[in-house]
Amino acid sequence: MTGGAGRASYVLRRLLQVVPVVLAILVMNFLLLRLAPGDAAQVLAGEAASATPEYMAQLRQRFGLDRPLAVQLLLYIKSMLVLDLGFSFRHNMPVLELILGRLGPTLLLMVTTLVASVATGIVLGLLAAARAGSWRDTLISILALVSYATPLFWLGLMLIVVFSLKLDLLPTSGMETVAAFHEGWARVVDIARHLVLPTLTLSPFYMALYVRLMRAAMLEQAGMDYVTTARAKGLSETRITLAHVLRNAVLPVVTMAGVQVGSLLGGSIVVESVFAWPGLGLLAFQSLFARDFNLLLGIFFLSACLVVAVNLVVDVVYTLLDPRIDV
């Protein structure tokens, strides 16, 4: 019943549903942001540490801040309808260009973290469930609890102190060695080295969730009838676990991972800040304080799109993992 065509029309239907949702998000974001006191011109003048009234008026006029709010909103929606994210006057650059510049590093950190945390989460959850109640289970549970409770900035700084300052193994911060400007493979290796500590900092928190989820799901599935059947067929325990139980138990983990892609974007502000990683979270954070609303709205828009897209992918992955689930 579920063929490629069915899947395609499902995806299309879901995409159409997304449009009003995203539009509503845009209008709400726009109005919410205007509630913040002060404007971009004031912040810029504040940073300049001095300004004449002429200067302030010029800035406001250029930023369009002298127009009524309703007009500003209409203009914004109009440009968004043709997917024009607008211009960041603060950075004197198109918003899209600014965001695209940060997208690569953000995705790199996000994907590495997601892969690392899901993979270790699944493996540890599996190990814990296989001998539920044993010392190994207890150890893994404690590890998960500690990982979940450790503040990210503290962990990040401690890793810098140990691996960078004391052991001198890894760089403290940044995405590449700026004094050297490596090229080709040397650059890839350089970036990979810079990626280690941020990933190590960000992963444990998410991993902890997956460990708990995985362990619970494995234990739940282990008592199912199909496991008894498989055992009766004479399959080895390893084969039952890997081929049957695992496949079913991994579903909640995939769901959770999908939901967390959104929070991973935001949750990395701390890590981006500590490791000077050029990601979107920090950019959003800074633009809020700078009242750079065009840029901030652009990032919100992109994040909303990303979350929607990932959830769609997750739903499709479901049907691949479990053919009984119908689109």
């Binding site: 004031q42 504040g46 300004a51 603060r90 510049g101 700026v178």
Partner: protein
Amino acid sequence: MKLARSLAPWLAVVAVVGLVLPADEASAQKRGGTLVMLVQPEPPTLASYISTSGPIGQVTSKIFEGLLEYDFSLKPVSGLAESWKVSPDGKTITFTLQKGVKFHDGKPFTSADVKFSILEVLKKMHPRGPATFREVTEIDTPDAHTVIFRLAGPAPYLLMALSGYESPMLPKHLYEGTDIKASKYGNAPVGTGPFKFVEWQRGQFIRLDRNPDYWKPGRPYLDRIVARFVADSATRTAAIEKGEAHVGGFAAIPWPDVKTLAKLPTIETTTKGYEMSSPIVQLDFNTRKAPFDNQKVRQAVSYAVSRKAVIENVWFGWGKPATGPINSNFAPVGFYTSQVHNYNVPNGVETANKLLDDAGFKRGAGGIRFEIVHDLTPYGEEWQRYGEYVQQVLAELGIKATLRYEDVATWLKRLYTDYDFQLSSNWIQGLADPVIGVHRLYHSKQIRPGTVFVNETGWSSPRTDQLMDQATVELDPKKRAAVYQEFQKLVVDAAPLVWVHELQFVTVYNKQFKDLIVSPLGLYASFDRAYQDR
């Protein structure tokens, strides 16, 4: 990496209106090396002709140059202008430009660029430009290397505002006929300076490479300067400690970390190079409303604050007690005086309590005279500590203060647009001349809602207005100094602010690098003399 090689000894002696630049020590400097400098926070653009924001200036001062540079006694020395002459009435200033100066795109720098930069850009779009160049009505360019400023009235402060940081010289051919504020060169500047803009990876770094065609022979010595952006202060400290970054100034390295870093054998610290920013840490009163409309109440608060306690406990010893509106950095030019009403006395709290009693503020229940809200400067942790200290001191006076910490935009609007505050901490830069940096806080014409860092206390007096107007046009430095002495006495007596201390920033740098801080512009200088000694 290129091998460091020493340059043949050379001498540069430039005669400048009777001044001679000190000749560099021969053959000490080595060519090559990359300097990584921490810039915090990341600048929004590199259009230093539109914003004087510190981080922008730290980068662009390597790319753009000004007509003049300055020495540590705050005297102008030659820059892009090889010499200059002010007419006796102060209404004509003639500059002779250096020969053979080229922009980074190869086009020559001429008098037309100067005229364009000042009249079309700085006078119109710079945050302080309209004030600095108010008197400049016309600029004549009789030939490619002569520039004549025609002024409506004398403007002695003008010569202090011509550095590459304050008034950058731009290439006319790249900006003319375009929307200057939206120019793409705002993010990829082209100047005449020792370093050329190469690339800007947002969120990471800006790369500047050596300008091989720089007009000063043999300079610069460094191959490259990279400005790095690290949002977290602890990480910045770690990067300096590890040698991944080589220099950080202003408040890039938190004060407590400076002490730790200074103990490392690889690190040097200095408080020099901030003489042209001259910041003062203050407490600003809203003099429009009770209780701070009362001079005695303001004086009481000023008496109660222990300058020593603030400097030692909040700023870890970096600072010098302030006496009034003009920074003691202006002592060499005679503008500063310490002969004013002295609030920095040992029995300050006692004196303060007596003043409040005299003013009729009796202690009520719980010993409280009245309650206020104290707004804090939203620039980081030390400002919160400062606020907590002030809160304690006020409690000793029977004033119950509630602290309020908001974000920058909210705080600026509260202070400078809505005037919805009672007492706020603040810090203001005295800049290169009192006309530019100091008058704005005290002149009645500087009470301008919506404009930041001007007179928000609401205090002014006809006499001080008059004195400031005199100082603005007085050409004789001695007479000007006398005017400022009287001005300081009157303002300090009226106490529209508490001048707590002259903030001392610390530049932390790796000892491998020499001659980084060579002028009062400090990190805002061009680094053309900086070199790496490996």
